[in-house]
């Protein structure tokens, strides 16, 4: 199904595009707008983004597919992004993650059937001194323990 940006979003984009001497440079911000508006970067969202920026869908795809934060499928309402890099590993990230996988019966890249939670292993989140850490949507959660993460998930479930 074809999707389209709302007029006010188009206007928002034009203000962003004016920051760059080349319109194509605004492709990353445009993809962010698309993700905000349409929930994830579907093929239709990609086409709408390409139209907005004035590049080909293939160019938009080339860029979107390079970056891990552009979601290619619909994430859960709460998108859990676990840091799996060195300092988190040294401080028990594997245990924390295993607890979540068990609690939600979820593996990397999956979403729960009710669409509430999705899981993505990510690389270093620059929070090494408060390891293990994760992001839920755009928010950091740090110094995680099995107990703490179970509590966080229970709270989100109760919302």
């Amino acid at each position: 199904m074809k999707v389209e940006f709302k007029p006010e979003v188009k206007k928002e984009f034009e203000a962003i595009a004016a920051r760059y001497p080349v319109r194509r440079a605004a492709l990353l911000p445009a993809l962010w707008l698309a993700q905000r508006e349409f929930g994830f970067i579907s093929t239709e969202a990609l086409k709408a983004t390409a139209d907005l920026v004035g590049c080909s869908p293939a160019q938009a795809m080339e860029t979107a597919s390079f970056y891990t934060m552009y979601q290619k499928q619909k994430p859960g309402k709460y998108h859990l992004q676990f840091c799996q890099t060195i300092s988190c590993l040294l401080n028990g990230a594997e245990d924390v993650r295993a607890a979540v996988e068990k609690k939600l019966n979820l593996k990397d890249g999956q979403t729960t059937a009710d669409g509430q939670f999705s899981l993505q292993g990510v690389e270093c989140l620059a929070s090494c001194h408060t390891a293990p850490c994760m992001r839920i949507n755009d928010e950091y959660h740090e110094n995680l323990t099995v107990e703490k993460i179970n509590q966080i998930i229970d709270e989100l479930k109760a919302k």
Partner: protein, 426 residues
Amino acid sequence: MADFEPQLTKRFNVKDGHTLKGYLATGGYESLKKLFTMKPTEVIEEVKASNLKGRGGAGFPTGMKWSFVPQNTGKPIYLAVNADEGEPGTFTDRYMLFNDPHLLLEGIICACFAINSHTAYIYVRGEFYEQIQRLNAAIDEAKKANYLGKNIQGSGFDLEIYVHRGAGAYICGEETGLLESLEGKPGKPRIKPPFPAVVGLFGCPTIINNVKTLCSVPWIIANGAKAYAALGTQESPGTHVFGLSGHVNQTGYWEMPFGMPFMDFLNNYGKGVKGGKLKAVIPGGSSCPVLTAQECEDLTLSYESMKAHGTMFGTGCGIIMNEHTDMAKVLKNLTHFYSHESCGQCTPCREGTAWEDRLLKKILNGEATAKELDLMLEVADNMEGKTICVLSSALAMPVRSFLKKFRGDFEKYLVKNTVAVPEKVQ
């Protein structure tokens, strides 16, 4: 440690230090008064004389970098700020951006004035959502108060600063990968030369500086290169925000002049190793060769000492490992990281990082012999210095140093029975 005045972290505990009001109340934008009485070339000379080195990892002298910008091309000149902090083990720029965004803006104004640039882009990694909001708010405030925009404080100098949000790619911290990403493309590094100072963003002369590099500049302008060079060591002047993570009792970050003995830093600030004796240290982010506990004994927090110990200062954030750490598992974490983050355009990197990861998996699964260990070293040799950027070397160096210094940790996984498979059935 000699007394020093914090330059980078002085507003970290100031209420509203991140707002313009809080910033101005604590000496913010003071350096501009002096800056606008100077000529751009004088600013460059001052920063050169301070011997400020780039804090992003490579440690290139900042003033010298600025002097490479040609002023006669007729093209606009750009400044790109590298706030794509993603080197495993590194986490201090995140706090610089959050606690003192105006300091970065002031540093950008100084740098842009020096190189005659009127447009700067701050490339912030996509995960730093709060930091991006704070930066944007600071830019709005600064514009309203005429610290940005046209004719800044009556100086005749114009400057616009824009925030550009990344979207999750370690390689965009590589300066030419960053430029590609700013142009809306995949962050695949460019072949050098031409260097970005000559042909950079949108084909125009461009300087790329790290967050803390730029945050160090206002103090240098206000207090002079001499005062800056008096801090730290001769080769590593000034202060830095040093960090500790991993197996330490007190993880965190602390600003101090360069030159402190590493073990004093670990024991007095980090409160010692957690869970056992010290086994290994990755001193400045995961790309730096690993050091043994013994090698750390006479190590100091400086570019020259790290170099003398066969490693790199990197970002100044150390990862500490205790005696119970399985170095083979740690290296597996790094091989996974680099193979995941390789942009894939150079074969030695794309294939090499993936092969290191596969070989190490085989070793950890107990399916390998000493041949695989040697093969890992051979692959590392074929990865280093053969690619467009240094991501490939950034894995080859850890592979070599881990295998050399902690070979026992890998050998314990090897298959003891190494009967050669006969070539023929009979």
